[in-house]
């Protein structure tokens, strides 16, 4: 066989391998990227639903927190402790009574729902109701019976709590039941290996919760397009009916991800990148460069959704009376 032929075969083989690897990587990114997007959205959505179910009120520790998720080295990777406190009373206090986020949210929603105004009177938040004995007692009763906006049919979500729940959800989903897929011994960030991707679960965050109060009569079309509900069947006929004002929360989130690939292509690139060629002075090539995995944020959700997609990638949550 001629030397030319040997080189031709060698180069042809390398080109074929690289092209095949690239094809597989592109296919994998297209398929798994979509799945990560879908599962991330579900993790945040279910976190909001779980929060709204107020399981901490069950006086049962098992219902308050989830088991911690351990990583590949057996150490804690993602905490299953969703709330800052341990008892239902303390959790309620930390979520509402002494929570600055809640106070700010309540201040911004002024004079819309009467029951919330009673609670605001008790908490000393500027209210549309006057500070009278009766109003204060009513608010105190709500607070003592751990009444939350959700119980009053008003959407309010605690960002920090939902973020913790969502991180736990993300780690559980992407680990696929295997602790060895949760890497907590490779640098400061914990990530889960998922079909060639790295999902940095502990860095996942809610970037914003946007609240919008829509009146099901006056804002009929916008409300229907967001919720897919038929407003004529809600039994609300008047715009002045307090129940007509529905608070909708749009959850915007961000999940840092990186791609490391499923074929040996990445290892080859890493080797080449990390090997510094010394030149022609009889010196050998030595490890020199630094190949780093590039992280980028998967951002989606919100009331308007992600406009880069052909369909709105919105994530909204609401409760109604």
């Amino acid at each position: 066989m001629a030397v030319k032929t040997i080189f031709k075969v060698l180069i042809g083989t390398i080109v074929a391998i690289v092209i095949s690897a690239l094809f597989i990587e592109i296919l994998n990114i297209a398929l798994v990227g979509n799945q990560i997007n879908m599962l991330s959205k579900m993790a945040f959505k279910q976190a909001a639903v779980f929060f709204s179910q107020e399981t901490y009120k069950r006086e049962d520790v098992k219902s308050i927190n989830m088991p911690d998720i351990m990583g590949i080295n057996g150490a804690l990777a993602v905490s299953g402790k969703f709330y800052d406190k341990d008892t239902p009373e303390d959790i309620y206090d930390s979520l509402y009574l002494s929570n600055t986020d809640f106070r700010m949210w309540a201040s911004n929603h002024h004079g819309i729902w009467e029951n919330l105004e009673y609670l605001k009177v008790y908490l000393g938040i500027p209210s549309s109701l006057s500070l009278t004995y009766d109003n204060y007692i009513q608010g105190e009763f709500y607070a003592n019976s751990r009444m939350t906006p959700l119980n009053l049919g008003i959407t309010y979500l605690d960002k920090q709590t939902i973020e913790r729940i969502a991180r736990w959800n993300l780690a559980s989903i992407f680990a696929n039941g295997q602790d060895t897929m949760i890497i907590n011994n490779d640098g400061p960030d914990v990530y889960v290996k998922y079909k060639g991707f790295r999902v940095y679960v502990n860095n996942a965050r809610i970037t914003n919760i946007e609240y919008k109060v829509l009146n099901v009569i006056n804002d009929k079309y916008e409300f229907e397009s967001l919720t897919n509900l038929d407003t004529s069947k809600l039994g609300i006929d008047s715009a002045t009916d307090e129940r007509a004002n529905v608070c909708i929360a749009g959850i915007e989130y961000s999940v840092p991800i990186a791609y490391e690939g499923v074929t040996p292509l990445k290892q080859i690139m890493e080797f080449i990148w990390n090997t510094r060629v010394e030149g022609l002075n009889n010196s050998v090539s030595t490890p020199g460069g630094t190949y780093t995995i590039v992280e980028s944020d998967l951002t989606a959700g919100g009331i308007d959704g992600n406009n880069n997609l052909p369909v709105p990638g919105r994530l909204i949550f609401y409760v109604m009376k």
Binding site: M42, V49, Q53, T55, N169, I173, N176
Partner: protein, 169 residues
């Protein structure tokens, strides 16, 4: 050997190779297409499972109907949920298994096919003629064969259920 004979032999060898190569290419594309379809339904099943902590009966029948009627083709058969798929309700955070499987039937030339009517059953254990089967029996035999065939595409997920049921401990 004359050039003419050589050409004839070359052609004789080339023809089956080209046919086999064509079938191989067809199988690659058919497998990819079948796999993508199965992957799509597995995503839907996964989403259903995570949202409900199991596959509820209504969703199970809807998905199974879709798998049987829309996914099964000449090359893909026996599309179904895996046996260990979770069909019982579980509590938030508990691990559930969601899986779909199918049998990809590779298509090659000169593959034996079943007769449509009155299939000859062959000799029985006593070396006597075993008899014929009716059309209904044949159909049932084919269905049994499909149901019991080994699947060669399995897509399975072990994920937590993310719905809290207050009535469950």
């Amino acid at each position: 050997m004359g050039d003419g004979v050589k050409t004839i032999f070359k052609t004789l060898i080339k023809v089956p190779i080209i046919i086999l190569a064509s079938y191989a290419v067809f199988n690659v594309f058919a497998f990819l297409l079948s796999y993508m379809k199965l992957l799509g339904v597995s995503y839907v099943a996964l989403q259903t499972g995570v949202e409900n902590n199991y596959i509820p009966p209504n969703e199970q029948s809807t998905l199974q109907y879709y798998m049987t009627n829309s996914l099964e083709t000449g090359v893909l058969s026996n599309v179904k949920f895996t046996d260990d798929t979770t069909f019982e309700r579980k509590q938030y955070g508990e691990e559930i298994t969601i899986g779909v499987e199918a049998k990809y039937n590779f298509i090659w030339p000169l593959m034996p096919t079943e007769q449509i009517h009155g299939e000859f059953e062959g000799l029985n254990s006593t070396n006597n003629f075993g008899g014929y089967r009716t059309d209904a029996e044949l159909e049932q035999a084919r269905q049994d064969k499909i149901d019991n065939s080994d699947t060669n595409i399995v897509i399975k997920y072990n994920v937590p259920g993310l719905r809290y049921y207050p009535d469950l401990d």
